[in-house]
């Protein structure tokens, strides 16, 4: 068939199919309320099928095919050219409420940035003070990879996955995992409960079925000893590991960073358009958590009983390859700065005959501390962070998403960061000191960057005849007290400008004849994009109708 005939058919098919698929997705027929603080995406549904994505196939797609097809995305370039006419290549995140926040859902729970999580809770992690209790029965060894690992049942019958630190790097992976996991969890994401452990050989015994080889090769004490030699061991023979509590429910596969899960009617929004996923980029950048492929996320199906309807809960599964760590040892220097196949940098190196100097070569990443690895903060640039391979949701992020992510990061106080670092229980005090300092410095860089891109006025409320708000840069200590210029655009009458010298606007300054008004806030001395607040007249007072940052 000639292309001239194919194109109209494809166009017609696309347009015809679009409403049909949306009808199927909206099968639960829930009402829509943009002011809600809870996105009810946990309604009972049938269990989706377990689907697994091939790792190498996924990397081939994300690292090679997608970047190249994106490079030749002609409509994208047309939309870019039409930018001055109002066209946009990127769409705003879909799941934000009128306050420009993400409602609680099976993906995300508003935590530290709306209510400070006590440092003790951060130190303990998602499941509080739960730790694996010896003796441990090894039920399944992990044969792949360079570091040891195995599934165990502890004395209370709880299932854990134990993973070891690389030889010569005690507490490297376990420490990075403990810290990054707690901070990511406190920021609002769902994660497993992981704790660093020091495992004594005498606390390990082998499950009888495993020893007899009922489901494969027999596994004996000598095999376990051999396995343990692949990880770091202390002088007393104990192993430096971390324990990860099995997630509740039944796994139904990794999560695509691009598309929604079509067999889950609760999953309405394309994942690349979810604010919490786009904003996760900023958090991962802060933590230098570069290994963010789809397989690092996991959907679990939770139902009262097997076979009954339930709902899917979405988890960030593994943030262990972060800070200065990698499974085999210290993070390779280019991680976090380049994709594995970074076509732009490859071209730069090719045409410069290898004389292009990459930022990671200038960064002083080698800390010389075995339990820290390679982790820098001096040349860290928050928006230049690169993951293992391009990720659809991260690529689609807008300034508003970046600002929101920065809000999560900057919500952590020095004390909270210190508490998260304490959770690693580093034997080497230099590690505690260095990582705490690095995370504080990186947090401040995140704040300075994103709060310089988008005017960081937020948490608007109406009380006592005033519109009150917070300047996050000032609250965080990244900017001195400053004044604000507010452009007032009423529904009728002329625009005007108000100057504020504090984070309050007297509503009496607004004309009572107006039914609605749009306020655009800019911070003095900053050329960041404005923050917009729409107010609606409600009787004698005003109510917040919409807040949008940097759009």
């Amino acid at each position: 068939m000639r292309p001239a005939r194919v194109l109209p058919i494809a166009l017609a098919a696309t347009l015809a199919l679009a409403p049909a698929t949306s009808r199927a997705a909206d099968a639960l027929a829930q009402p829509v309320d943009s002011s809600t603080w809870v996105d009810h995406d946990g309604r009972p549904v049938a269990q989706p099928k377990l689907h697994e994505t091939n790792l190498v196939g996924h990397q081939f797609r994300e690292a090679i095919l997608e970047p190249w097809s994106h490079a030749f995305d002609v409509p994208d370039k047309i939309l870019w050219l039409l930018g001055p006419l109002g066209a946009s290549r990127k769409h705003p995140a879909i799941n934000v409420n009128r306050y420009d926040e993400v409602p609680n859902s099976e993906w995300f729970t508003n935590r530290n940035h709306v209510r400070s999580v006590p440092p003790d809770e951060i130190r303990l992690g998602p499941k509080g003070d739960l730790v694996p209790k010896p003796p441990f029965t090894v039920s399944k060894p992990k044969t792949e990879g360079s570091t040891p690992g195995f599934q165990v049942k502890d004395a209370d019958g709880k299932k854990w996955l134990f993973k070891g630190d690389p030889v010569g790097f005690p507490q490297l992976a376990s420490g990075a995992d403990a810290i990054s996991l707690r901070l990511t969890w406190a920021a609002g994401y769902n994660l497993p409960h992981n704790v660093p452990v020091r495992v004594r050989r005498e606390d390990l015994k082998i499950d009888k079925d495993l020893e007899e080889g009922k489901e494969g090769k027999p596994f004996h004490d000598v095999d376990l000893d051999q396995l343990l030699t692949r990880g770091h061991r202390y002088e007393d023979g104990s192993s430096s590991m971390y324990a990860s509590l099995f997630l509740e429910g039944a796994p139904v596969g990794p999560i695509s960073a691009r598309d929604r899960r079509r067999d889950d009617p609760n999953d309405l929004y394309s994942h690349r358009n979810r604010r919490e996923w786009r904003g996760l980029y900023v958090l991962m950048s802060w933590l230098d958590s570069w290994d963010t492929k789809d397989q690092q996320y996991l959907d679990m199906f939770l139902a009262p009983e097997k076979g009954q309807p339930g709902h899917v809960k979405h988890h960030v599964l593994d943030v262990g390859a972060s800070l200065g760590a990698e499974a085999e040892g210290g993070k390779e220097p280019h991680r976090g700065y380049e994709y594995t196949l970074d076509w732009a940098w490859m071209a730069r190196r090719l045409f410069s005959l290898g004389f292009a100097v990459e930022p990671w070569r200038r960064a002083h990443q080698e800390t010389g501390i075995p339990s820290v690895g390679n982790f820098a903060y001096d040349v860290y640039e928050p928006d230049k962070f690169h993951t293992l391979q391009p990720q659809a949701a991260f690529r689609e992020r807008t300034k508003a998403d970046g600002y929101w992510g920065a809000k999560l990061v900057c919500s952590f106080s020095d004390a909270q960061i210190r508490a998260a670092v304490d959770a690693a229980h580093y034997d080497d005090p230099r590690a505690t000191e260095y990582i705490t300092k690095a995370l504080i410095e990186r947090r401040n860089k995140v704040g300075r960057y994103w709060f310089g891109e988008v005017t960081p006025v937020d948490f608007f409320s109406v009380a006592d005849g005033e519109l009150r708000f917070h300047d996050l840069a000032v609250d965080r200590g990244l900017a001195p007290d400053r004044h604000y210029r507010v452009e007032v655009r009423p529904d009728r009458g002329a625009r005007r400008t108000l100057d504020l010298d504090r984070t309050r606007l007297a509503l009496s300054s607004l004309d009572p004849a107006w039914k609605s008004v749009r306020l655009e806030f800019r911070a003095g001395g900053s050329d960041a994009r404005p923050t917009r607040v729409d107010l609606e007249r409600r009787g004698e007072s005003w109510a917040i109708a919409l807040v949008r940052h940097g759009e």
């Binding site: 194109l7 494809a10 166009l11 347009l15 679009a18 949306s22 829930q30 809600t36 603080w37 809870v38 996105d39 009810h40 946990g42 309604r43 009972p44 697994e52 091939n54 190498v56 996924h58 797609r61 095919l65 097809s69 030749f72 995305d73 002609v74 769409h91 879909i94 799941n95 934000v96 409420n97 306050y99 926040e101 409602p103 609680n104 859902s105 099976e106 709306v114 209510r115 400070s116 440092p119 309405l268 929004y269 280019h334 196949l341 970074d342 090719l350 005959l353 290898g354 004389f355 900057c410 919500s411 952590f412 106080s413 937020d458 948490f459 009150r468 917070h470 609250d475 965080r476 007290d481």
Partner: protein
């Protein structure tokens, strides 16, 4: 109390209390974002809600604007095969390749003793050549390594080899034996001498067998002596699977031993000596390699000659080890003993393999002496992949004294170099010479 200090106390306390009372409300009294007391003015800060209960969604399903859909649809249709490929690879790879969970790629049958793997090769001359390889790697000093391989191409090329050797790279001693057999029905021949244009191309049938024993002494591959002895038989005849035939282009009487067999015994010694920073991928240092072999006919042909091979490699980093200037000088010369019959044409040094003139066909040049000067600049463009810019000068001559600068064949090229884990290097090169461009994809040992 003494009245004087009391008055002083009032003098201090009164202004202080006035100052405190008249000061604006301190910002520190408000909860600040990021403080331990921070609570946002949102209901969600105190009541988290339950997403599993009945309630609204924050938005409808996201939809692309219709205008954008119209704009994108033609391009989506055109690129649909690519998308299909991407999704297919992601979804189907597990089913198609059950063992293909991640590197290393494992195809074939693996047992604890050995592995049997299929092999496949292709060139325009030989066609597709499926084959096999059986390999047993012992990783132990006292257990021999064995490798057996073979193949049969669609254009009649057949080859087989068997090799057994003991000793590891880390052991001082190693001994082994090797047998090879190969028949090529359309081996290329361009004549003898430095003036062998591409247009002189002809083919003949080349069949050769070789068996040898060898011993090596040395602590590592960079400091090692080698000794070997063997027996070689080669025959030539009119070819097939191509044209024109050798005898149609050249006078067979001018091509020594065309149509005749040659059987020789040989023995020799060689060695490696290197001072480099890395044995596989050096960034700086020097590597010297040499071999000398004596050949003597075992039939009545009275062929006796000495073959000398020299290989000098130098590596120089250009301000950093990711940029390397690599230099290589290669020499291969045969020197007939007094009274020897002419050396068979198929035993003369020829421009193939490591000795290939890059912008010319493999085996295009052959004579008693062959020399190459090769310089290349390598630079890393991504982890494990280098770009190379190459300049190469090559010449053949009847003897070393006849090598002249004016007769040199020049090759200039650019390409990519991809070192694999086990010492094999894959190169893709576009080279330009006086006869036009050549595009090469080479996998094998490299310098």
């Amino acid at each position: 109390m003494n009245p004087r200090p009391r008055r002083l106390a009032w003098l201090v306390a009164l202004p202080l209390s006035f100052a405190i009372a008249s000061a604006p409300p301190a910002r520190a009294q408000e909860a600040r974002f990021g403080d331990s007391t921070w609570v946002a003015p949102y209901p969600i800060a105190t009541e988290s809600g339950d997403p599993t209960t009945d309630g609204p969604r924050v938005s409808r399903r996201d939809r692309e604007p219709v205008g954008e859909t119209i704009l994108r649809t033609p391009f989506r249709a055109v690129f649909y095969p690519v998308r299909l490929l991407a999704r297919g690879v992601e979804r189907v790879a597990d089913k198609v390749l059950p063992q293909f969970k991640g590197p290393p790629i494992r195809l074939g049958f693996y047992t604890e003793v050995a592995k049997l793997t299929p092999t496949i090769a292709y060139s325009s001359d030989t066609g597709i050549e499926p084959g096999f390889e059986i390999q047993r790697r012992s990783f132990r000093e006292d257990v021999p390594n064995i490798r057996i391989a073979g193949g049969w191409s669609t254009k009649g090329q057949r080859d087989a080899m068997a090799r057994v050797h003991s000793g590891l790279d880390t052991t001082m001693w190693g001994v082994g034996a090797e047998a090879r057999y190969k028949i090529v029905p359309n081996f290329r021949f361009y004549g003898i001498g430095n003036d062998a244009p591409e247009g002189a191309h002809s083919i003949y049938r080349d069949e050769r067998g070789d068996i040898s024993v060898f011993m090596r002494v040395g602590p590592d591959p960079l400091h090692r002596a080698r000794f070997l002895a063997g027996y070689s038989s080669i025959s030539s005849a009119g070819g097939s699977h191509g044209s024109p035939a050798l005898q149609d282009v050249f006078d067979p009487t001018t091509v020594p031993f065309f149509g005749h067999d040659s059987k020789v015994f040989y023995f020799g010694a060689g060695g490696d000596f290197a001072l480099v920073n890395h044995w596989r991928e050096p960034a700086y240092g020097v590597h010297l390699r040499g071999d000398v072999r004596h050949f003597e006919s075992s039939d009545r042909t009275n062929v006796k000659y000495l073959e000398l091979r020299g290989d000098v490699r130098g590596y120089l980093p250009v301000f950093a080890t990711r940029r390397i200037l690599a230099l290589r000088l290669l020499y291969d010369g045969v020197n007939p003993d007094g009274g020897s019959a002419p050396i068979p044409f198929y035993r003369l040094p020829a421009s193939y393999g490591e000795y290939r003139f890059l912008a010319y066909h493999s085996n295009q040049f052959r004579d008693q002496v062959l020399g190459i000067a090769h310089v290349e600049y390598r630079w890393v463009i991504t982890r494990g992949l280098q770009a190379v810019a190459i300049a190469q000068l090559g010449e053949v001559a009847p003897n070393a004294k006849s090598l002249r600068i004016a007769d040199i064949h020049e090759s200039y090229g650019i390409g990519l170099r991809f070192p694999l884990k086990k010492g094999t290097v894959v190169r893709g090169i576009a080279a330009q010479g006086s006869e036009g461009p050549q595009f090469l994809l080479i996998a094998g040992s490299d310098f």
